[in-house]
């Protein structure tokens, strides 16, 4: 705006769009690179990871710390592959494919490392409600019990669950320190920074500042950390209570998608219920709007479901929409 314009009174008419909305310019095709995976040649677009290539070939690769919606931290090393010319194995989840690379995903070295990583995790953390990891352990022949033979017990992260609020429980005896919750609470989704990794080495753990309870911390109970936790260390209180009581029964459960009733964003909710009680709410990772994230209302705000509509009978408004 030049000086003269500034002296004029502002024009309050709302500009009316004239002409058609311009079309988005056509996307440019990304260059592709060719790599060899277990002897098979595959071409992927530049920037794709080795994991992307494996998945495209249908090669099942164990991952613990990787999630499509989060920045890779490549910390668990469950996904390592053997890269020709590299002294050490490389993490498939974050290593970008480069023209001419040749990798092996099932060599002796790869199998040993994957087995040991899974074994290490299971020897230190409670993986009892991580069925996916148990499957991989079987596949690679992991034997975590061999660290506890004889009199001495191996160090573990065993500790009592932290139950400090009504919405979710932090049972860090199940934590494998995959960093996912920290990422979800930080710049990858929530930007609240309520939790971080504290301590060092085997003592490293997820913590609020000075380990204060969640209600004293910055947590806003979006539950986005629960949604990404691979081991059930972060768990809905409703689910935790049912499991404690020995009443968690997946055969009696149903899952249905619906739209959050609260605000205009309209996030997709996946509602899981057992015996007509909602036990967990998530959002699909591939949902464009949420990428799996929700807010406290969509995540936990379903106390009204199943409550009597007008202080009347118990079954007045009994079933949550998701059940039908």
């Amino acid at each position: 705006m030049n000086h003269r314009d500034a002296d004029l009174a502002p024009d309050l008419t709302v500009p009316v769009p004239r002409g058609p909305v311009p079309a988005a310019p056509p996307g440019t095709e990304r260059p592709r690179v060719e790599i060899e995976v277990d002897g098979k040649t595959i071409s992927v677009e530049e920037g794709a990871t080795l994991l992307d290539a494996c998945r495209r070939l249908g090669i099942d690769t164990p991952t613990v710390c990787y999630l499509e919606t989060l920045t890779p931290v490549n910390a668990c090393r469950a996904c390592v592959v053997e890269l020709e010319g590299s002294r050490v194995l490389v993490p498939a989840c974050s290593r970008k494919a480069e023209q001419g690379m040749s990798i092996r995903t099932d060599s002796e070295r790869v199998r040993l490392s994957r087995r040991m990583v899974l074994e290490f995790l299971a020897s230190g953390s409670d993986l009892s409600i991580s069925p996916e990891l148990s499957d991989y352990m079987e596949r690679y022949g992991a034997e975590p019990s061999r660290y506890g033979e004889g009199g001495s017990e191996p160090a573990t992260v065993e500790q009592p669950a932290k139950v400090d609020n009504e919405l979710y429980v932090r049972d860090y005896a199940k934590c494998v320190l995959c960093y996912k919750c920290v990422e979800a609470c930080g710049t990858d989704a929530q930007n609240t920074f309520a939790i971080a990794v504290a301590g060092r080495g085997f003592d490293a753990h997820i913590s609020t500042e000075f380990d204060v309870d969640l209600p004293e911390s910055a947590c806003v109970y979006c539950g986005n950390c629960i949604a990404v936790c691979p081991t059930g260390a972060l768990i809905f209180k409703s689910e935790h209570d049912l499991r404690q009581a020995g009443q968690w029964d997946e055969d009696r459960q149903r899952e249905a998608d619906t739209i959050c009733p609260y605000c205009g964003v309209g996030c997709t909710l996946t509602v899981r219920s057992q015996d007509n009680q909602i036990v967990r709410v998530t959002s699909p990772l591939d949902q464009e709007v949420t990428a799996g994230n929700l807010c406290i209302k969509g995540r936990f705000g379903w106390g009204f479901v199943g409550a009597p509509a007008d202080g009347g009978t118990e079954d007045g408004n009994g079933s949550c929409g998701a059940e039908d």
Partner: protein, 615 residues
């Protein structure tokens, strides 16, 4: 960023400590008391804070130096001032050994219980301390002093060693080495402290005054002690020459010298400089002075004995590669080095000697071996946890503040002025074809005259031991640790191996940080291996599973072997140990995990420990 804080407020002292570094807060958003009218309309805390995160470690030091520990209120205030989420700052503070997040007395005696000090009587010292008036650990102590165990303090030539630090308005530090409870108590009560603090660095260089030294000739001389002395000795002639002949010439000389890094990875220095010179700015230069490999103290001796040369070398490096700021990252356990380097930088800056290069800043580590790994070091300076990054990208592409960065070890840089003055080709003629130049070796353990020795590459392990007066203790060598905790344990039959990259590689050892630590026949090698395994367990950053859990499982298994609970004769335990070693070497993120089993592996190949059969 909308930060949330617990209600804990700082004390006046804590506030002062932080403000002494950052100045007074200028708004309520950044920790000020007064609510200014403008505060009600705008918050710039997050935005401005983002640029200050790199001050987190210095601020934590300021609080710890003043108060001895970091309280909730102090951490809150520091987070407000810097715009850092308290949970993250807590994560950073708890990463470092030297910070305490719970109350503790102002005076801490850190007693080294690492390998060289074990060989030289740590056990006796700890027994004596147990019956002294100083309690081990704890929140309080009747006389305001506690002692704690520490990994190698880099004072191995004077083992057993203790480092004493006092918090307060005037924080102080002192070394007691060789340490006795009486000497320690005297220092704690600040008798004779002045004498201790200026501990003669000359004593750490038995060759001092013998002539013909290239890297050590100024240590303990006036030319290493003051800027005038340094200038009289031809100091800053190399930087002048560099400026006259230009960047390209400097990098060519370094390339021609065949110099490779002395920090352990043995990367060709010229190639690194070339890459940074060719990279787009802004760029940074970092001098890695985190020296924490057990048995290593050469960088300390250079910093204390020849700090001006190091400043000149870093100035040359920054000039030649076009860096706009240089950092010296010094381990927290080296307060004396920190003071000498700070003094030297100040002197040089005052005299305008750094004008052709760039400003140099010192950053102090706080007790974390892993921060010597270059990418962990970047994170540490940036105010994050000292966790290594995955490579690629390499530092020359994306390093400090995600900019192209030149990282060199102290000793690597110490070679630079000489290379420019004599020419790269002349330098390359020293040593062997592959391993060129002079080299510093750290001799400690059972050795008659421990200290830093200079010799050309190619000198054998035996010759080094002889230079240092031969094996002490029982006089009979049982094994020699070379390269550090991440190195290898050699058999006496191997001590005629020349100390070069190529010859060491051939016998499955490494030059590493040039540690030469003979153990006499009385040493329990099994106990030494357990201590080395404990070191890696304690120093693992905890980021990746193979190392976080692997170092623990390795240490546990070694403890069981040492206690006789299990024996290596059994296939089962040999396999387990081998597999733990392999996954750490193959799948860890960084060099710590890659080498955490090296010493153990090398020892079991050579010595029949724990019922195993050596080859």
């Amino acid at each position: 960023m909308d930060l949330h804080f617990t209600p804990d407020a700082p004390t006046d002292t804590e506030r002062e400590a932080v403000d002494s570094l950052l100045g007074e807060p200028d708004s309520n958003w950044t920790g000020g008391d007064r609510l200014l009218a403008s505060d009600l309309r705008t918050s710039q805390a997050g935005h401005r804070g983002a640029g200050k995160r790199h001050l987190l470690l210095p601020v934590l030091h300021a609080i710890s130096d003043r108060c001895g520990w970091i309280s909730r209120g102090a951490l809150n205030y520091c987070c407000r001032r810097l715009g850092v989420p308290p949970a993250e700052a807590y994560g950073v503070a708890t990463f470092y050994d030297m910070f305490s997040l719970s109350p503790r007395p102002p005076v801490i005696v850190r007693v080294c219980d690492d390998i060289a000090c074990i060989a030289k009587g740590f056990d006796g010292l700890s027994d004596d301390l147990a019956s002294s008036a100083i309690p081990e650990g704890g929140e309080s102590s009747p006389n305001g002093v506690i002692w704690t165990r520490s990994p190698c303090l880099g004072l191995c030539e004077r083992a057993p060693a203790a480092l004493i630090s006092g918090a307060g308005e005037q924080p102080w530090h002192a070394v007691s080495a060789p340490a006795t409870p009486v000497a320690i108590e005297r220092v704690c009560h600040r008798e004779g402290r002045a004498a201790e603090a200026g501990a003669e660095v000359r004593a750490s260089v038995p060759q001092a005054g013998t002539g013909g030294l290239r890297l050590l000739h100024r240590v303990g001389e006036p030319s290493g002690g003051s800027l005038q002395g340094y200038l009289r000795d031809g100091g800053f002639a190399a930087l002048d020459l560099a400026v006259r002949n230009g960047r390209e010439w400097v990098v060519e000389q370094v390339e021609a010298s065949n110099l490779v890094g002395r920090g352990g990875a043995a990367f060709p220095t010229g190639r690194k400089w070339r890459a940074v010179l060719g990279a787009k700015g802004p760029k940074y230069a970092v001098c890695n002075a985190d020296e924490s490999e057990p048995g290593t103290f050469k960088d300390r001796v250079l910093m204390e004995g020849d700090p001006y040369a190091l400043v000149e070398a870093l100035a040359i490096a920054s000039f030649a590669t076009g860096c706009e700021r240089a950092y010296v990252y010094i381990r927290g356990e080296y307060p004396e080095s920190t003071e000498r380097m700070a003094g030297a930088i100040e002197d040089c800056e005052r005299e305008g000697l750094l004008a052709p290069a760039c400003p140099i800043e010192i950053r102090r580590g706080a007790g974390a071996y892993i921060c010597g790994e270059e990418t962990a070091l970047f994170n540490s300076i940036e105010g994050y946890r000292g966790e290594p990054r995955n490579k690629p990208p390499y530092p020359t592409q994306s390093g400090l503040f995600r900019r192209p960065t030149l990282v060199n070890n102290v000793e690597t840089l110490a070679n630079i002025p000489g290379i420019l003055l004599e020419g790269g080709a002349a330098y390359a003629a020293m040593g062997t074809d592959v391993s060129s130049g002079p080299k510093l070796f750290c001799l400690s353990g059972h050795i008659l005259r421990p200290g830093v020795y200079e010799a050309e590459f190619g000198v054998t392990v035996r010759e080094l031991i002889e230079m240092a007066g031969g094996v002490a203790g029982s006089g009979q060598v049982q094994a020699v640790l070379v390269g550090g905790a991440a190195g290898a344990l050699l058999h006496p039959g191997e001590i005629d191996t020349p100390f070069t990259f190529e010859a060491m590689r051939e016998i499955g050892a490494t030059v590493g940080s040039a540690v030469v630590m003979p153990f006499d026949t009385t040493v329990d090698l099994g106990a030494m291996l357990v201590r080395i395994a404990e070191f890696f367990r304690h120093e693992s950053c905890g980021q990746c599973v193979p190392c976080r859990v692997g170092t623990v499982r390795q240490h546990e298994l070694l403890q069981r072997l040492q206690s006789g609970e299990v024996r290596l004769g059994s296939e089962q335990h040999r396999t387990l140990l081998g597999e733990i070693s392999q996954v750490m070497r193959d799948a860890s993120i960084c060099g710590l995990g890659h080498t955490a089993a090296s010493a153990v592996d090398s020892a079991l190949l050579r010595f029949p420990i724990w019922g195993g059969s050596a080859r």
